[in-house]
């Protein structure tokens, strides 16, 4: 009895989870494998269209013989690159139709015209014509004839399915694609974006954890950048930072803080003089990082605030009795209590920032020194149309992330051991 109950439970569980598991498998896991597969192939954007045999049907009446009709099929191979084999053709006709002359490749049976056209090379074109006559001499409905579409079938090689593999893509990614530059840009973007959003998260969480009027309102406002659509925010920032008529530059010019407008999103480097030393700051990258911090610190804020509110009040009361200063309380009580959250946040944000695409794409499109690896995936795959190369870049992203996670967990594990 118990056994059958357990069995039905199992069965039910599988039925309940199957749809979700199937969908996730089809749309997430299968593409990941497909990506590995594609990254070892030489595939371009134009190769992924499957070649199709096509026929355009043109119906012409013959002027002095109303009972006859000419039908012209413009046949072609849609692909400019690949052949189609064993093209078959079928088209149905009304019952009172009789064919006048039969092409040797064809057969007319049961009011259906069936043809075997054999193999079509790439770019193949043919005008195929048949003439029909009605048995009873009745009028022919041209529109009805036109509306019936012929069916064509054929087999062709799918470039994605053959087993020609190559390491060329990876070679290109690592040696011909300014890999170091891409990697460093991505790393700066990820690292400083992550650190910045966590620092701002700590500051704001500490702030909202205080009691003041309008605190709940403040909490929602702080989350606005995180929940609003990235498209709207990116274009607003672009407008704000525009060198010609952007608000920020206009304000700075108005107060005579700067003399010429600064192109914050379009200038790769800016010379900065600190204490007599000249620094070259990557300006556009810095701006993009600022946007990233602005948009994602709310997540850090929320996580840290939730943790702060869970710290027992007794800890602070005891510190007060000992006469601890606010800074001592922050560094000796608050900070140790939130390190666990921070280390999780660091990992999550690092992974997500590392493969963040939209923000940079919308702000700069990857220009002026902001080309990160995800942007490169898009550029390789869709601008240069080299799908295999794009896949290889995205594989490199995954490998780098796995390496990061491996070392991060190792480091984390060590620190947990020490404590």
């Amino acid at each position: 009895m118990n056994d059958t109950l357990a069995n039905t439970e199992k069965k039910t569980a599988y039925i309940l989870t199957l749809p979700a598991v199937f969908l996730v498998f089809a749309i997430i896991l299968f593409p990941i494998f497909a990506n590995v597969w594609i990254s070892f192939k030489q595939v371009e954007l134009k190769d992924i269209r499957i070649p199709e045999p096509r026929a355009k049907k043109i119906v012409k009446s013959i002027s002095d013989e109303p009972s006859k009709i000419k039908i012209l099929y413009k046949l072609r191979n849609s692909s400019l690159l690949q052949e189609i084999r064993d093209v078959s053709f079928r088209d149905k006709f009304p019952k009172n139709f009789e064919i006048e002359k039969l092409d040797p490749r064809c057969d007319f049976k049961k009011y259906t015209l069936k043809c075997d056209f054999g193999d079509w090379p790439a770019k193949y074109r043919e005008n195929f014509q048949v003439v029909f006559e009605t048995i009873d001499g009745s009028q022919i409905d041209k529109e009805k004839l036109k509306s019936k579409k012929p069916k064509l079938d054929g087999t062709s090689d799918n470039i994605l399915l053959n087993t020609n593999f190559t390491l060329k893509n990876f070679k290109k990614v690592l040696f011909e694609n300014e890999f170091l530059d891409l990697f460093l840009t991505t790393f700066y973007y990820t690292f400083f974006g992550t650190i910045g959003s966590i620092v701002f998260g700590i500051l704001t969480a500490q702030m909202v954890n205080q009691k003041f009027y309008g605190r709940t309102f403040m909490r929602s406002v702080l989350l606005f950048p995180y929940v609003a659509p990235v498209v709207a925010l990116a274009y607003t920032w672009e407008l704000l930072l525009d060198p010609n008529s952007g608000t920020l530059n206009s304000l700075l010019l108005n107060y005579q803080i700067i003399e010429t407008p600064i192109n914050l999103l379009g200038q790769k480097y800016i010379q900065i003089n600190i204490l007599g030393f000249d620094f070259k700051l990557r300006l556009a990258l810095t701006t993009v990082i600022m946007f990233e911090i602005w948009r994602y610190f709310p997540l850090a804020f929320l996580f840290i605030l939730a943790r702060l509110q869970a710290i027992p009040k007794e800890l602070y009361e005891a510190a007060d009795v000992d006469g601890a200063s606010p800074f001592q309380k922050f560094f000796n009580i608050t900070l140790p209590q939130i390190t666990a959250v921070i280390s999780i946040l660091f990992m999550i944000r690092f992974i997500w920032n590392f493969n963040k695409f939209e923000d940079v794409f919308l702000l700069t499109g990857g220009a002026s020194g902001t080309r990160t690896l995800p942007i490169n995936v898009y550029q390789q795959g869709f601008a240069i149309s080299d799908i295999g190369m794009g896949s290889a870049v995205s594989m490199v992203i995954v490998i780098l992330l796995l390496m990061f996670m491996f070392f991060y967990f190792k480091l984390l594990g060590k620190r947990v051991d020490e404590n």
Binding site: K10, L23, V24, T236, L302, S325
Partner: protein
């Protein structure tokens, strides 16, 4: 010690005052006032003197009179320096000074003598500063987005600093950008597409996620732990890796440029989050209810529809709102899969609009307002549900 504390207190409070007044001046400049300088030095000297005077006067004058006197002196000086500025500007300065003096009222010589007093002051003012700073930095872009959408091309070019809206004009002129994007750029259609895709994603996700979450939360089966850990791993997985394979597969299946294609991808990407959030909630429902139902010979379908769903309406609605927001905001996949303007979503349409350099920016901003408003409205209105869900790690970004 006392002089050192006094100076530190005065300095901190002065910087706070400078910040307050500067923000007000920037906002006033953006209303079209001709302010060419922030006069930071003057504010600094005045603020410093005020703080010292405040400590000196202490309780000899009633707080309210003291605040009013300080404020009036500052307004007088500021008005003298700036000249010919409208009344509302000066009233604003007065209120800021009043606010400021009432804030520093908390402190006097006695409190400065206490232990760690400078740190306490620093913390207090940093909090105040942070509240204002973050409100300004966050709200300003949204404010700019809204105002720009109400402006005309000429007004934007002539004076980019003029953020004032002329409410005196005809409503038709005020909302001109909105009329234009609906009429010439078919935004009505895009809103419809976005709504269908988002609502569709919510419905399908819930249909798939509720049974799966129930199974993970309640039933025992082989592969359960594997399933629940892989949910989290999949959730972390980079979306950029899926783009190329999905593009190729969808191209070959003819699913690109179709709402169905987007629905499938959005559902698959939101499912892990939805299952994760829901199973957490389902676990908190007392088991006894279901045991009674099993005795009543209710099938699993009956248990889910008659017991689980009615009991978890709050959790289900918060998941629904989330999934809606994710689908509504989504950009990457809509960029990849849609290149026919007939099947654009709102985000994709705005990006397409911006690709044309000729497109006036007020149209772009009007589009941005349209895509942002529903999300912010949902967020503010249902904030309580959503925040608890956010900390459960639900919105990916």
């Amino acid at each position: 010690m006392r002089t050192k504390n006094t100076i530190i207190f005065s300095l901190i409070s002065t910087f706070f005052l400078i910040f307050l007044v500067s923000i007000w001046k920037i906002l006033a400049t953006l209303q079209g006032l001709d302010i060419k300088s922030l006069n930071l030095e003057i504010i600094f000297i005045f603020g410093f003197l005020t703080s010292l005077a405040h400590l000196g006067i202490n309780d000899k004058i009633k707080t309210i009179y003291k605040s009013i006197i300080f404020s009036l002196i500052f307004v007088f000086f500021d008005g003298y320096l700036m000249q010919k500025l409208p009344l509302w500007y000066n009233i604003g300065v007065f209120l800021i000074l009043y606010f400021y003096t009432s804030k520093i009222n908390k402190y006097n010589y006695e409190s400065l003598k206490e232990e760690h007093s400078t740190q306490v002051i620093l913390f207090d003012f940093l909090t105040l500063f942070g509240i204002l700073f973050f409100s300004f930095v966050i709200l300003f872009p949204f404010y700019m987005m809204l105002v720009t959408s109400f402006k005309t091309q000429i007004a934007l070019l002539v004076n980019p600093l003029d953020f004032s809206i002329n409410f005196g004009q005809d409503l038709k002129d005020l909302f001109k950008s909105y009329f234009v994007i609906f009429k010439s750029y078919k935004f009505g259609k895009y809103i419809l597409t976005s709504t269908i895709v988002s609502v569709g994603t919510v419905i399908i996700t819930l249909l798939f996620a509720i049974p799966a979450a129930y199974a993970v939360a309640r039933l025992n089966f082989f592969g359960k732990t594997f399933l629940s850990t892989s949910i989290l791993i999949i959730y972390m997985f980079p979306a950029i890796v899926l783009v190329i394979p999905l593009y190729t597969i969808f191209s070959q299946l003819g699913l690109r440029n179709s709402i169905e294609g987007l629905l499938i991808v959005y559902t698959a990407t939101t499912l892990p989050v939805a299952i994760y959030m829901l199973q957490g909630y389902f676990k908190s429902i007392p088991k006894e209810l279901e045991e009674a139902a099993i005795l009543d010979k209710l099938s699993w379908f009956g248990i889910i529809t008659k017991i689980i769903i009615p009991l978890s309406i709050p959790a289900i609605s918060s998941v629904a709102l989330y999934v809606f927001m994710i689908a509504w905001n989504e950009f990457l996949f809509s960029l990849m899969f849609l290149d026919n303007p007939n099947s654009f979503t709102l985000s994709r349409a705005i990006q397409y609009l911006s690709g044309d350099a000729e497109t006036p920016r007020q149209y772009l901003m009007a589009g941005s307002v349209i895509v942002t408003l529903p999300v912010l409205f949902i967020f503010v209105y249902f904030e309580k549900y959503l925040v608890s869900g956010l900390t459960a790690g639900s919105v990916k970004g």
